[in-house]
Amino acid sequence: MASLEALAVAEKQKKLSYRIKQNKASYIMIAPYFILFFLFTIAPVLISIGLSFTYFNMLEAPTFVGWDNYIRLILEDDIFLIALKNTLLFAVITGPISYFLCLLFAWIINEFSGKLRALLTLVFYAPSIVGNAYLVWNIILTGDRYGYLNGILLKLDIINEAKLWMQTEKYILPILIIVQLWLSLGTGFLAFIAGLQTVDRSLYEAAALDGVKNRWQELWYVTLPAMKPQLMFGAVMQITQSFAVADISINLAGNPSINYAGATVVTHLLDYGSTRFEMGYASAIATVLFLLMVGTNKFVQKILRRVGE
């Protein structure tokens, strides 16, 4: 009898409606966050995808145009292709390099002792939080003799006349990449430093007994596999960041930059979205960017899952 009753209760507990009722408090607690999350994150993504199939200028109601925006993007919009090329170049270079630098510096910093480690962490992390103060690079890159870079290179006789750094097509992208790298040791970097500090010491002792000879082997065989979760988190941070580059391009090279050498998908999006008010077309650009970011992230997560296997 008793077991039958227990069975009936168990049956009841399996029911979805029962479980939802049981967890009423949980739903109430998550409600404020998720209402805003749907309003400002989920809904905008869906609206953006929807609008990308329309012509919309903010004044008249959107009209459905099918794949027209996407066809125009790929077949007619030369600047989009330059922007896409720049963004991919940017992402392919700054993404992995910044990821690798985050890991390298975090690892080296972790070898130092307490106070010095805190100081080095601050020095390397600081550029990523100075906000608009990165505009100091404008002073470094000034195109006349008063620019610091020109001043130093002239003094060292490496160049013999001041270069117009941000007005010369071939310098724009490499310089933007360097500035972006300077800015890129952010949240992922902190996660790595913290992750390195939590690797279990006994793992190192065991590895030493197993014949791990030096710190490089230790890094590869012990440290990296032990901090895999942080590696995955850091990858998300660096990838998303490297695809979203726009502000530094606009502020250092201008929008539009000389021959669009500094154009990225985001600057192109801003051009159509906030200057020309072609919202349908801008949404198509945004959707392409969304797919690029999420697709790359998912792909890299898949690869990183294999570390140490």
């Binding site: 979805l16 479980r19 939802i20 049981q22 408090a25 949980s26 739903y27 607690m29 998550i30 404020p32 966050y33 998720f34 805003l36 999350f37 400002f40 994150t41 989920i42 809904a43 905008p44 993504v45 953006s48 609008l51 630098l101 910093i109 070898e111 002792s113 080095l120 601050l122 020095v123 390397f124 600081a126 550029p127 100075v130 906000g131 608009n132 103060a133 505009l135 470094i140 003799r145 008063y146 610091y148 002239l154 949240t187 430093i193 913290a194 992750g195 030493a208 791990v212 030096n214 710190r215 979760p229 942080q230 988190f233 998300v236 941070m237 726009a246 985001v266 979205g273 945004a286 960017l289």
Partner: protein
């Protein structure tokens, strides 16, 4: 030989349980650190030095990185400029305080409130909701800015502080970090309170929140960093609603005539977030230890 060994030990933490570190390796790491460290720190050094340079040194040829005759002239120039602004300068400061404090406090509260059930309860829909939050970390806000502008207009909060504050509350990384940090709290902590008849809300406020102090400090600092650079952009049109960053940007845009004041501005923009980070560094690192993504 012995002396130099000793000095290495001063810089590198002693690791009796770890393998011997080769001196060549130490040297290599030290050199790498100095080269890249200089690259990282030089622009920051310039920000500080430029802020202290008198005008003639700012326009000196060849340019010098370090200041010769440090002065606070640039800051006094900045204060003079501040008295000239259209709306009283204190108004910009007040706006920034309202926006950052509002955005930060609200975010910490509602993200923690949502993180607790996600970390410690088991309810239908939990996994899908959390994976949506992770997905949201995989693209930047630039992707959604057009629909966001439309939604803010529909809500009729355009040109109010709320246009900046409300979207900031649902910043995905904050919820993610808080949830990961709460997960490591021992269940027994909450279980005993539950046996005493405490409600989930009471457990949240009296047991969970006091125990995750490093995490909410971290959320607050990250959120502050996000909000600090905000100029109000297209959401705030009225001059008397604009934040400090906007006013500072106007001063910097003044060109060579305002080079001194602009150097002072750059210093202030950089110094404030760095100071906050410095104060909370150890708490932030403690939070980041749990930031890892499990499969």
């Amino acid at each position: 030989m012995a002396a130099s060994n000793k000095s290495w030990k001063y810089f590198f933490k002693p690791k009796p349980t770890k393998l011997n570190r080769s001196r060549a390796g130490n040297g290599l790491l030290f050199t790498l650190m100095i080269i890249f460290g200089l690259f990282m720190v030089l622009p920051l050094v310039m920000i500080v030095n430029n802020a202290l340079k008198p005008l003639d040194e700012l326009f000196q040829f060849p340019p010098k990185i370090f200041v010769r005759n440090p002065t606070l002239e640039n800051f006094t120039d900045l204060f003079v400029l501040m008295n000239d602004t259209w709306v009283p300068f204190s108004r910009y400061i007040l706006n920034t305080i309202i926006i950052t404090v509002g955005g930060t406090a609200g975010h910490v509260i509602i993200a923690s409130l949502a993180a607790y059930p996600l970390a410690k309860h088991n309810f239908p829909g939990k996994n899908i909701l959390f994976s949506m939050v992770i997905l949201s970390m995989m693209f930047s806000w630039t992707v959604t800015q057009i629909p966001n502008y439309m939604i803010i207009s529909w809500l009729h909060i355009n040109n109010t502080y709320l246009a900046l504050i409300l979207p900031a509350w649902q910043f995905g990384m904050g919820l993610y970090l808080m949830k990961q940090f709460m997960e490591q709290l021992p269940d027994s902590l909450m279980e005993s309170a539950r046996l005493d008849g405490a409600s989930e809300y009471k457990i949240f406020w009296t047991i969970v929140m006091p125990n995750v102090k490093p995490a909410w400090l971290t959320l607050a600092i990250f959120q502050f960093q996000q909000m600090w650079g905000n100029t109000g952009g297209m959401f705030l049109r009225d001059e008397e609603l604009k934040p400090l960053q906007y006013a500072l940007q106007q001063i910097t845009a003044g060109g060579t005539a305002r080079a001194g004041a602009s150097a002072a501005v750059t210093f202030i923009i950089a110094a404030i977030p760095i100071t906050f980070f410095l104060i909370c560094q150890s708490n932030i690192l403690e939070t980041m230890t749990t930031s890892g993504m499990k499969e």
